[in-house]
């Protein structure tokens, strides 16, 4: 199942690496990714789309949410 995950995070080095590491661990391949700093407030937005098994998506998202710098996370199914 294809999902888009929207993340709001502190803009610190290594956060993207932590996120992609959690995906690599489960052999999840990113199809599209977009990351940009919000000007002036030290916050960054990261969006990615990936094929993730339905039974694990919730756990993967919660694991990403454990990253200390992550402030908010949402995910939704991508309709074809």
């Amino acid at each position: 199942m294809k999902y888009t995950v929207d993340i709001v995070t502190e803009n610190k080095p290594g956060v993207l690496y932590r996120i992609t590491g959690l995906l690599t661990k489960r052999k999840i391949n990113i199809e599209r990714i977009n990351a940009f700093a919000v000007k002036g407030n030290g916050i960054s937005n990261i969006y990615f789309t990936a094929d993730i098994e339905e039974r694990i998506v919730d756990t993967v998202v919660k694991q990403i949410n454990k990253i200390i710098e992550v402030i908010e996370i949402k995910y939704h199914k991508v309709s074809h």
Binding site: Y17, T59, Q63, I68
Partner: protein, 560 residues
């Protein structure tokens, strides 16, 4: 007054209440070691023989004190040698702060001498990590590191400090009342949740509580007892939950999992309510997941939200610190008893007991690991700290030592790191100097970190090493026997003369090869003042049972 980054680090560690550092000096942390020279009265430094030893010692220290263990190592190989221990701490939720030296900022990325991307390497195995290139960053990073390591679900953090930051001089200012917002509130349940959870438990006919490491981490042993005694529910323990409940409690039915006791495995699937308390349904506990608790209602307390539904779907997840949740739950629970249900355990316990007697009869004049551990338990009044390695020694220690007091069984559960016991026992002894600390090891595992005998010698630590020598890699050999048609591929191991080896480290020792000498040897071993290595030659072709074989359900647990 301006002071160096290295001295700022010393003062920051003192602000965090650090008393002991396990470390090893090298090029990229020399300024820190130079500062330590002036602080050695306030900060005890234990010089290990290999950085992996520092990591496991820090884990052992953390496991008995509840405080983060601290490691200090140099860049490159110093840091990469820590990796196994960091991964171990991550898997077993052990608070640990690792400080690694790093090449000067101007050389970063240039493949400088002893440069390794430590932040990169340790990211997947840390709760948090960072690299500091300026002295002024040190205080807040240390405050943050200790907060993160010890709040919420504990874990390891790494702070990589470049050499120039260690030299650089700035004013020292430590943050007051520092906190990390994300970990400030861990309890996310309300009284309505408590009422609903209590209702499920109150209406249960066959309730079974599963206690895990979370009970020990949150120091909820008393609360667990109050809950089980009020509700009359049976309670079983995971490997890491061992020692959270006294072995002789009438409601305690034993250890769960692959090499757990017979009755709790056999009856897990018969329970109508599973009350999982600070445990994470590891595959070694659940056996075949699709056949695990097919009908029971599952209430799952965990401080880590991502553990809810990860392996087992919980009908009622409760997010919070185990102790706090249990305190809130208690008033809603009704007094009850489940004697019939407990009777079912007792019936199966008898079966295990009869099997055990037969086993004893068969091995009458032989030395097997269970005999050694049972005797050790009796002779130490069940009060010692047992730090185990990984394999058969670990499982026999789990099953045959009778744990009476909390934090008495220390092992590498998640990562299963051979070589854990000796260095972890060093940390445990330093953290709990008044307790009797035993490292229980096999002939394989001890040789993975045997150089730490040097640390024991230098620090004069009265650690007792019980070496159960079966001249092979016992657990792998057992699997080869059971599942690979006795093709013993590279599990036979020849070893040095351990007693003489210990002697060369000025550690006294004795080797026992016959059953009739075991009693006396154990007495001497336990009562000797100072470090001691007791090598016991145990049966080679002996297996640990009961066993839930891989791919089978917990109720298919076998006695042989």
């Amino acid at each position: 007054m301006k002071i160096s980054g290295a001295e700022i680090l010393m003062r920051s560690l003192l602000k965090e209440g650090v008393e002991v550092i396990f470390g090893y000096p090298g090029g990229a942390n020399m300024p820190i070691y130079d500062a330590l020279y002036f602080y050695e009265k306030k900060l005890r430094h234990i010089l290990v023989r290999h950085e992996q030893g520092a990591a496991h010692a820090a884990e052992g220290y953390a496991r008995v004190t509840g405080k983060p263990g601290v490691c200090l190592v140099t860049s490159g190989p110093g840091a990469t040698n820590l990796v196994t221990g960091i991964a171990d701490a991550m898997m077993d939720s052990v608070p640990m702060v690792c400080i690694t030296g790093q090449v000067a900022a101007e050389f970063l990325g240039s493949d400088a001498f002893q440069e390794a991307d430590v932040v990169g390497i340790t990211t997947p195995i840390t709760k948090w990590n960072c690299q500091l290139t300026h002295a002024e960053e040190i205080p807040e990073a240390i405050a943050k590191a200790f907060y993160i390591a010890s709040h919420g679900r504990p874990g390891p953090v790494v702070i990589d400090i470049t050499k120039n930051a260690q030299f650089e001089k700035v004013e020292f200012k430590y943050p007051k009342n520092f906190y990390v917002n994300k970990l400030k509130t861990v309890n996310k349940y309300n009284s309505g949740d408590m009422k609903k959870a209590a209702e499920i438990i109150n209406n249960a006919k066959k309730p079974l509580m599963l206690v895990g490491h979370g009970v020990l981490i949150s120091k909820a042993e008393k609360e667990v007892l109050r809950v089980i005694e009020k509700t009359g529910m049976a309670v079983a323990s995971t490997l890491h939950g061992l020692s959270s409940i006294p072995f002789d409690h009438p409601l305690y039915v034993g250890m769960l999992g692959m090499h757990g006791n017979y009755s709790p495995n056999k009856l897990t699937n018969s329970a109508d309510v599973i009350f999982a308390v600070g445990m994470r349904f590891d595959d070694r506990v659940t056996g075949k997941l699709s056949k695990y608790v097919p009908t029971a209602r599952v209430i799952h307390i965990d401080v880590d939200e991502s553990e809810h539904h990860k392996n087992v779907r919980a009908h009622f997840p409760l997010l919070g610190n185990v102790k706090d949740v249990l305190i809130s739950l208690l008033p809603h629970l009704k007094k009850n008893n489940h004697d019939d249900w407990l009777g079912e355990f007792k019936k199966l316990d008898k079966k295990e007991l009869i099997w055990g007697k037969k086993r004893q009869e068969k091995n009458k004049n032989k030395i097997t690991m269970d005999v050694v551990l049972s005797l050790l338990s009796k002779k130490t009044k069940n009060e010692a700290v047992i730090v185990t390695d990984v394999g058969q020694n670990q499982m026999f220690s789990a099953r045959y030592y009778k744990y009476k007091n909390p934090d008495s069984y220390i092992t590498s559960g998640g990562l299963g790191t051979m070589g854990f016991a000796v260095p972890a026992a060093i940390g445990a002894k330093i953290g709990a100097p008044k307790r009797l600390v035993f490292a229980v090891v096999g002939d394989g595992g001890i040789q993975m970190t045997i150089q730490e005998l040097g640390t024991i010698m230098q620090e004069k630590l009265p650690i007792k090493i019980l070496l159960l020598n079966n001249e092979c890699l016992g657990m792998v050999r057992q699997w080869q026997q059971l599942f690979f048609e006795k093709r013993y591929s590279f599990t036979h191991m020849e070893s040095p003369d351990f007693i003489n080896l210990a002697k060369s480290y000025r550690i006294k020792g004795q080797k026992v090869t016959e059953r009739k000498n075991l009693d006396q040897a154990l007495n001497k071993f336990i009562n000797f003042r100072g470090p001691y290595l007791l090598e016991v030659k145990v049966e080679k072709e002996d297996n640990i049972f009961p066993m839930v074989a891989t791919g089978t359900s917990v109720d298919e647990v076998r006695l042989e």
